[in-house]
């Protein structure tokens, strides 16, 4: 059937298989000459596409064990984060790291080593994985933890499903007192002001900025800056404390149809950005965690606003010392190309472990673009800026990077060689492969 990632580009005819539980995963791995595991399809590009066989782990979605003393949860790889939130928030537990959507699987979060608004202090999801069980190409199932096969754990987090199929994982959750977040909203007049806010907000657990990529001159990079903490019980109004952990039901809306591609253009996006900037009044408020972490999940299938051609996300990270210059160059280059990316996000990362994990200490910028030829040329140009400044791209969002540029991102590091060496040992025939891994010659 025709499969795609969240960006709906590319769309590819793939043989879609599914597996529930270890025995079915192992049977598929043994039977297929080539395959890639797939979670909920939230990677934007072709990370989880393989025409020969794409193995959906969604039916492997069972909670296995929970230790209420430590917060350690063990579950199958296809378990959705949304389900974990639904079951455990009312009991006072929250995942240690969450991406901007809850419609991702635990296996997908590990494979992409996802980050959240707390990366600067908390690291990525992989930092909290105490152990995982991996079905290897040769039919074995091995446990990976700090004590067993640690090298394989480091390669599997951020390894985009290329080391094997994750069967189940254990990770620790954090205790929370309420399902509410205390959010502070600030305005940053330009990029320098936004970066200063990130620096001064280091002690905050969560921070992120929505950046207006269409503003220019002295307003280049003007942003709405959000920082937040889980609210303590005593911060809630007295009458809400009894139900502090209750989920407030919210009916999600659904984008009913593909928007024609002209709906989002630089003028409508500029108008939206202006409105967003003006409507986001500085101040502090209490909002539920759903609104704080997953504002876009309230609009199901929001990827349809880009129309049938789909869109590409471009998320890069630049080392701290090169961030200001590099981000400026990227924003100027986008202006020069006359593109108006929608919903751009700026975030400060902290240090990072993991062989191929995306984050590094520095600033990350995420941009959306219509998937069209002119945009691909622009993105190639942005790649050069990123490589020149020692940065790299997030593979979970990539649909078009070249292998040569990928290798430039890792110049001076042996990470790609070590990753390839490990796969050559465990999977010499490259049974685990995606369109992305083939394109990037991983």
């Amino acid at each position: 059937m025709i499969l795609a990632g969240w960006g709906r580009h590319p769309r590819v005819e793939c043989r879609l298989l599914s597996a529930r539980g270890e025995s079915e995963v192992r049977a598929a791995v043994a039977r297929e000459a080539q395959l890639i595991p797939r979670g909920n399809g939230r990677a934007y590009g072709d990370s989880a596409l393989n025409p020969a066989a794409t193995l959906s782990l969604l039916p492997s979605d069972r909670l296995i064990a929970f230790d209420a003393a430590t917060g350690r949860l063990t579950c199958e790889a296809g378990t959705l984060l949304a389900e974990i939130l639904e079951v455990f928030v009312p009991r006072g537990w929250f995942p240690p790291v969450t991406p901007g959507t809850k419609f991702v699987t635990v296996g997908g979060m590990i494979a992409a080593d996802v980050h959240g608004k707390n990366h600067h202090g908390a690291g990525s999801f992989g930092d909290y994985v105490e152990s995982l069980d991996l079905a290897l190409a040769d039919g074995r199932v091995v446990r990976c933890s700090a004590h067993e096969n640690p090298e394989l754990l480091e390669a599997t987090r951020g390894g985009m499903g290329l080391t094997g199929a994750i069967l189940r994982a254990s990770f620790k959750m954090n205790p929370i007192e309420t399902a509410t977040m205390r959010q502070e909203t600030l305005r940053a007049a330009n990029l320098d002001a936004a970066m200063a806010l990130f620096e001064e907000s280091r002690a905050w657990t969560h921070s992120v900025a929505w950046i207006d990529c269409l503003s220019r001159g002295s307003a280049l990079g003007r942003s709405i800056f959000f920082r937040g903490e889980h609210a303590r019980l005593d911060e809630l109004p007295a009458d809400e404390r009894a139900s502090a952990l209750a989920l407030k039901p919210r009916t999600p809306h659904r984008v009913p149809l593909d928007f024609p591609s002209f709906v989002l253009n630089r003028w409508s996006v500029a108008a939206f950005n202006e409105l967003f900037y003006r409507r986001s009044a500085p101040g502090t408020e209490l909002i539920d965690y759903d609104k704080f972490f997953y504002p876009l999940d309230a609009l199901l299938e929001w990827n349809r606003i880009y129309g049938r051609a789909g869109f590409v996300q471009y998320q890069c990270v630049l080392p701290k010392e090169a961030s200001r210059v590099g981000l400026g160059a990227i924003l100027e280059r986008i202006h020069a190309a006359g593109e108006g990316p929608f919903l751009s996000v700026l975030k400060l990362f902290g240090r990072q472990r993991g062989l191929l994990s995306f984050p590094m200490e520095g600033y990350t910028l995420a941009l959306d673009f219509h998937a069209r030829p002119k945009v691909f040329a622009l993105l190639d140009a942005l790649d050069e800026i990123v490589a020149d400044h020692g940065g790299r791209l997030y593979l979970a969002k990539d649909a078009r990077l070249s292998g040569a540029t990928m290798r430039r991102f890792y110049k001076g590091s042996d990470a790609l060689e070590r990753f390839a060496g490990l796969r050559a040992r465990l999977d010499p025939a490259r049974k685990f492969a995606s369109l992305q891994s083939q394109r990037l010659e991983l």
Binding site: R62, L63, F66
Partner: protein
């Protein structure tokens, strides 16, 4: 203490699992009945964590009619709710030429489900309380070339539930008929189902819990099916026989 236990017949199916999760989230005690019950071990762990700490699985084969009474005796206390999701769509073309295959479809969708519920209903009647939920199908509303073997069995099941409801209406026992329409399950994976007419398994589960809470008699999971099937039922036979539905 109020007994609010739920027995799920055919619990290993996608719909059965979704129903079990929905009831677990509501904190209801669960008994999963399925063939080869040992394969449900991981599901039991899952359901316990989701809010049904005493969930257990029991061996059940809907086609083994001789085992019905011993099966019910073995349950101990009678559950407050029994949800039957037993069924087998079969392959229409095969059922047309292979009488054994057709018989299996008929027994799996009518004889087996109807008789286990018949036995349960008698016990609930004696107790003066209980709820029976039978998952039937819109396919049972008119025989169509594309699935009439399955449809005829579901028609029988629907009528059986209707009669049971009628008989027990004043006996404290409620009978709910569920007609899901298309369901997106592993069994239908790869089939091109129209999204507007296709329910997720979780949706069927939510509809069942809502129907139980509201005391409904017959529900279509997606309301649009009520109108589609009404239109299909109204077509004069002289026209209907020429259609390809």
């Amino acid at each position: 203490m109020r007994n609010d236990g739920v027995l799920i017949l055919g619990a290993a199916s996608d719909v059965g699992r979704a129903v079990a999760r929905a009831y677990a989230a509501a904190g209801r005690p669960l008994i999963l009945a399925a063939r080869d019950a040992a394969r449900l071990d991981t599901d039991l762990a899952d359901l316990k964590l989701r809010g049904s700490p005493d969930a257990r699985a029991v061996e059940f084969d809907a086609l083994d009619l001789g085992a019905i009474q011993p099966f019910l005796d073995g349950l101990g206390e009678l559950p407050a709710v029994a949800v039957c999701v037993v069924g087998l769509p079969g392959d229409q073309l095969r059922s047309q030429v292979d009488l054994g295959a057709a018989e299996l479809v008929m027994r799996s969708n009518y004889v087996g489900p109807a008789l286990i519920l018949a036995a349960l209903a008698n016990r609930m009647e004696a107790l003066g309380s209980g709820t029976i939920v039978g998952v039937s199908s819109v396919a049972g509303e008119r025989g169509r070339a594309s699935n009439y073997v399955y449809g005829s069995a579901k028609a029988g099941f629907t009528q059986f539930l209707s009669g049971l409801r009628n008989r027990l209406a004043r006996k404290g026992v409620r009978v709910i008929t569920v007609k899901p329409g298309f369901i997106d399950t592993r069994m239908t994976a790869g089939m091109k189902l129209p999204p507007l007419l296709t329910a997720q398994a979780q949706e069927v589960a939510r509809a069942i819990l809502a129907a139980e809470a509201k005391g409904r008699d017959v529900i279509y999971v997606r309301p649009i099916w009520r109108w589609i099937m009404a239109a299909i039922r109204l077509l004069p036979e002289s026209l209907f026989k020429r259609t390809k539905l």
